[in-house]
């Protein structure tokens, strides 16, 4: 089967910012993404958080994974980074291969 190179965007970010980021991805036509829960972490700021026992969203983190074309990623990356950099979190990009050829 023929495989096509794509970019895998991974945004680990605090939960309260999630709605804003998804709205942004939707506006920019990113159709596919998946949100995974995180249970704990430690950041550049040294703070260790943990999801255990928390009721509110403020201390929670989530990971957003979106596989997309390099071209689309380049168009939206700077603006996305502008949003995430104001929040607690980290953005990374890696290479991957998928089957579906259609732009996404």
């Amino acid at each position: 089967m023929e495989l096509h190179p794509k970019k895998r965007l991974e945004v680990i970010v605090e939960a309260p910012a999630l709605a804003r980021i998804l709205r942004f991805l939707d506006e920019r036509g990113v159709k596919g993404y998946t949100i995974l829960p995180a249970i704990a972490g430690s950041g550049a700021s040294g703070r260790i958080w943990s999801r255990e026992g928390q009721v509110g969203d403020a201390g929670r983190m989530v990971a957003i994974v979106a596989i997309m074309d390099e071209a689309r990623l380049e168009q939206l990356f700077d603006d996305l980074y502008g949003i995430v950099s104001r929040q607690i979190g980290i953005v990374s990009i890696s290479d991957c291969m998928v089957v579906r050829k259609d732009a996404f």
Binding site: E14, P16, A17, A19, G53, G56, D57, R60
Partner: protein
């Protein structure tokens, strides 16, 4: 006066307060005792549903009067005014910058529903009644403080362009329709609609086990607060901690005055004082992360959850109850 001391004493050795203390101590000792997030959230949904429903059913039973409208107006006013006082106080005594001071102020204008619940529970144990509609007042008090605090934060950036995302379109709807407010208000309306007979149908779920569930929930809050203090205490300078202990007293005094002015019952005055004294730790922190992401959550969350919540739970509630008894001559 003997009654007052008895209330204070019985409050400190109640299963509720001791459960919180257990959690707090366990977290400080770095025990791995912990509640799953889903369980903690389920307990909080239960408490919100139960307290809302009981409030509504009580109003259906006793009828409404003009005081309801006054109480709601007073609540909204307190929620809007307290952040101004808190902000001024923080600017005067703490070294916090404008944005952090505004974020902290928002928490103290808003309310902590668990503190409210603990106060109703202590009043019930003491056989003191209160107005059921105070639940609705609590719901109303969640939001105005946020608006005022954002205005305070931005007033400082006079002339500066709004930051990207600053005028987030969805934000206001999100705050107004946040889950706690909707559940509390909705359960209140259901209790109001179904009245005492509805309450009778589900009372063995929402009344009988209520205190026990509250104990477990406070145990978890103790764990979270203790963990917060362990990792966040170094972000709190002494004046900031002092603020976290004084501000509830200022809020309570305003709440006492308001409750007395509009003619609430002794229990009602105590609850109004408790609401005004309490600081949010769910709705406001989440709103701040979106609206003021530059503010440091280690400051506002640790202060609200690690300092003010324990203070209110242990010392505050019996104090406000005693004060309410004094002012109302009860």
């Amino acid at each position: 006066m003997g009654d007052i001391l008895a209330l204070a004493g019985s409050n400190l050795v109640s299963p509720m307060v001791l459960s919180f203390a257990l959690g707090f101590a366990a977290a400080l000792a770095r025990s791995d005792l912990s509640f799953p997030e889903a369980a903690a959230k389920a307990l909080s949904l239960y408490l919100l549903f139960a307290i809302g429903f009981k409030g509504g059913a009580s109003v259906a039973d006793h009828g409404l009067d003009a005081t309801l409208v006054l109480a709601i107006a007073a609540g909204a006013a307190l929620s809007a005014v307290i952040p101004l006082i808190a902000f001024a106080l923080l600017q005067a005594i703490s070294g916090l910058d404008r944005v952090n001071a505004a974020a902290v102020a928002a928490h103290y204008g808003s309310i902590s529903i668990v503190t409210f619940v603990a106060a109703t529970s202590a009043l019930t144990t003491a056989g003191e009644g209160f107005e059921g509609y105070l639940v609705a007042v609590a719901a109303v008090m969640e939001t105005p403080a946020i608006l005022v605090a954002l205005w305070l934060a931005r007033a400082g950036r006079a002339g500066a362009a709004e930051p990207a995302g600053g005028t987030e379109p969805g934000l206001w709807r999100e705050i107004a329709l946040n889950g706690s407010i909707v559940l509390l208000t909705g359960a209140f309306l259901i209790g109001l609609a179904t009245g005492p007979s509805g309450l009778a149908e589900i009372s063995s779920f929402i009344i009988d086990p209520f205190k026990g569930v509250l104990c477990l929930f406070l145990l978890d809050m103790g764990l979270v607060a203790g963990r917060g203090m362990r990792t966040g205490a170094r972000h709190l300078a002494a004046p900031v901690i002092g603020f976290g202990l004084c501000m509830p007293l200022i809020g309570a005094a305003l709440g006492l005055a308001a409750g007395t002015a509009i003619g609430l019952s002794t229990g009602g005055i105590a609850l109004m004082a408790t609401l005004a004294a309490s600081a949010s730790y769910i709705a406001v922190p989440a709103a701040m992360r979106v609206a003021l992401p530059e503010a440091n959550p280690s400051i506002y969350l640790t202060l609200s959850l690690g300092v003010t919540f324990p203070f209110n739970l242990t010392v505050g509630i019996p104090l406000y109850s005693a004060a309410a008894a004094l002012v109302s001559g009860g």
